[in-house]
Symmetry: C2
């Protein structure tokens, strides 16, 4: 295992009904809350009203910011930070999926900052402080509830970039699987693909991996595949929803430990596409991830071959490349079977835009190691 | 999965050479350190001198307390707390295995307390505050580096009891596998058995377990068994030492999550024996754990049967009880193969003392659910 530092200071509350703790937990951190939410599902389900009631029952002042986009925008975060300053907010409460959490992390940092907001994403300045954040998670997908990362789209520049900082790690995460019963089938599937991608990118990134982490990761990916099927068949399958949320949380931190420097190549490529075409992150990953694996397998099939055997049970005494390709096909077929797109055409990405996207990806911090030629090759496998 | 709360705020530094960070990390938490260590191995290896030098290089005042016993005593902790008060200590630095860490946690709590020390262990008073603690781990065994628990022996009453509190969770844990190269073979084995016991007790405690946690636990136990063999064959096998330490850390917290109320029956019985006969904890567990599994299998073989198949590859179409017993035998054989005792006689426990021990166990907080008759049955299987 390679050296690593693990720092997971979030108070992580898991289980059906734990949303009831949100008032008490937020009340320990502040008296004046900004309640951040997404487009409409949390308000439609009544969850948002429940959280607001629980916060007010603890005597908290509540100011609301709804309408955070699935690919959250910098302008929304800037507006949220302005609200925090105007209303002397001292705790941010996020109700939603990864997008709402990422926007809330950014708001929490910008609320205590007076500089250029995009600096945190270009790497020009680090995040050193932020308001405390309580997250109420409603979708199993991004792992944002248990980590220091946030990804934001700058609608002025068309960039979608990530930042990180210990100050924006949620102080409390409320992970209640019953809140995910109402996640629509396609977003359940997209979320599952995002979970798999976090595990899989870490798994593929290593040349020589610690065996214990490989085997643990294989268990989790197999489990996500099995439980996604259950959740799609019965959206109120509590055990399936629980497993997806837990696998989601395990990805970021615990299961990446010891693998050495991480690469998030599929994320780097996908962020460019979801910024340009506003497609769901998990849908973009379903297209890019198999293509990335193909690119990897053509150079060195060993890791993908292992994935094929251990996760999809590809057997037989074939050359490593063939086994790897069979595994990639099985993964692509599974993505299609759960309703995800698997080609760039389905995402609306025209052939003539590829080189522009490749150059953009190669210009980002996460995509610079990949380079233009590799991105073009990956896009060609995703055609 | 059952509801749970996970709170792991330790800054966890892992890898060969990370011991070099101890000065900087302790320096962030205090200026006056109590350096706690065990009998002699850390001083013999030069580690203790290295840590002291690193602390002093950061400008810290260092006061030392050596000689913590393998089953650490309350009187040692009281003496350590007195040193803290006398020297205005503001950070405790532990260098050792689980015993030194547990003693240091207790010292850190008693240093800010004026009441009856044993109250924290009988449950009469909770631990609410403690000095910050930096742990430098030298043995893969107890999981104490990543959790709120401490176990102490009261040499006046003959009791060995556990306590817990968020205040005594290490603020920093330095987990450097190269420090464990010098752990003697028998203590490597005892540590591995302790690691397995944490995973296995959690695994056995559930009637109906979340499948993802079961499969993850099976990977870890198989991995501990494999890497113990490697570490015994080559004490400087860095990957094997790394895996044992990581499996150790995963046990307490992450892999117990979602299993519902935990029971540590084997620990409850073993603590009575190691308090009375001063045997290493892992040696006691090697005797008690197979016996506990037998007791469990006679009532309901399903969980032990699963363990037998998944961890020891027991196969065939036999009744569940037979498969379970074959798995227990395989585990017992493995314990013996790594040099651990597997009978009460080897621990020096005479038959006539059983009923006294059973009554003592049943009188402890962890043993009260088990009761005298069950402990007697377990002891009989350990004969």
């Amino acid at each position: 295992m390679k050296n690593f530092e693990l720092f997971l200071p979030t108070r992580y509350q898991f289980g059906a009904g734990v949303v009831q703790k949100v008032g008490a937990e937020a009340g320990k951190l502040g008296r004046r809350a900004l309640l951040v939410s997404g487009k409409s599902s949390a308000s439609r389900s009544g969850l948002l009203a429940t959280v607001e009631t629980l916060l007010k029952a603890e005597g908290l002042f509540v100011c609301s910011l709804g309408g955070v986009d699935p690919n959250p925008r910098l302008s929304t975060c800037v507006a949220g930070a302005r609200l925090c300053k105007e209303h002397a907010i001292d705790v941010v409460v996020a109700v939603g999926g990864g997008s709402v959490l990422d926007a809330s992390k950014t708001i929490a940092a910008l609320a205590l900052d007076g500089g250029e907001p995009w600096d945190f994403f270009t790497g020009a300045r680090p995040i050193t402080r932020a308001l405390p954040l309580v997250g109420v998670l409603t979708v199993a997908a991004t792992g944002s509830e248990y980590g220091p990362y946030a990804v934001i789209t700058n609608e002025k520049t068309g960039e979608k970039l990530g930042t990180f900082g210990e100050a924006i790690i949620p102080r409390v995460s409320i992970v209640d699987p019953s809140l995910t019963f109402t996640v629509p089938a396609r977003h359940t599937a997209f979320g599952a693909i995002d979970i798999i991608s976090h595990h899989l990118e870490a798994y593929l990134a290593c040349e020589e991996a610690p065996l214990i982490q490989d085997e643990l990761t294989e268990v989790v990916i197999r489990s996500v595949i099995a439980h996604t099927g259950r959740a799609l068949a019965d959206p109120e399958d509590l055990e399936a929803r629980s497993c997806l949320l837990w696998a989601n949380t395990l990805a970021c931190g615990v299961f990446m430990a010891g693998r050495g420097a991480m690469r998030f190549d599929a994320h780097a490529v996908e962020h460019e596409l979801s910024a340009a075409y506003d497609v769901p992150h998990g849908a973009g990953l379903a297209v890019i991830l198999p293509a990335l694996m193909r690119w990897r397998a053509e150079k060195d099939p060993a890791r993908v071959e292992r994935f094929a055997r251990q996760v999809f049970g590809v057997s037989g005494n074939r050359p490593a490349r063939e086994t790897a390709l069979a595994g990639i096909q099985a993964f692509r077929d599974w993505c299609r079977s759960v309703g995800a797109p698997v080609t760039l055409a389905e995402l609306g990405v025209p052939r003539e835009a590829w080189s522009r996207h490749a150059e953009n990806v190669a210009g980002t911090p996460d995509g610079k190691d990949l380079g233009v030629a590799a991105v073009m090759e990956i896009l060609s496998y995703a055609a």
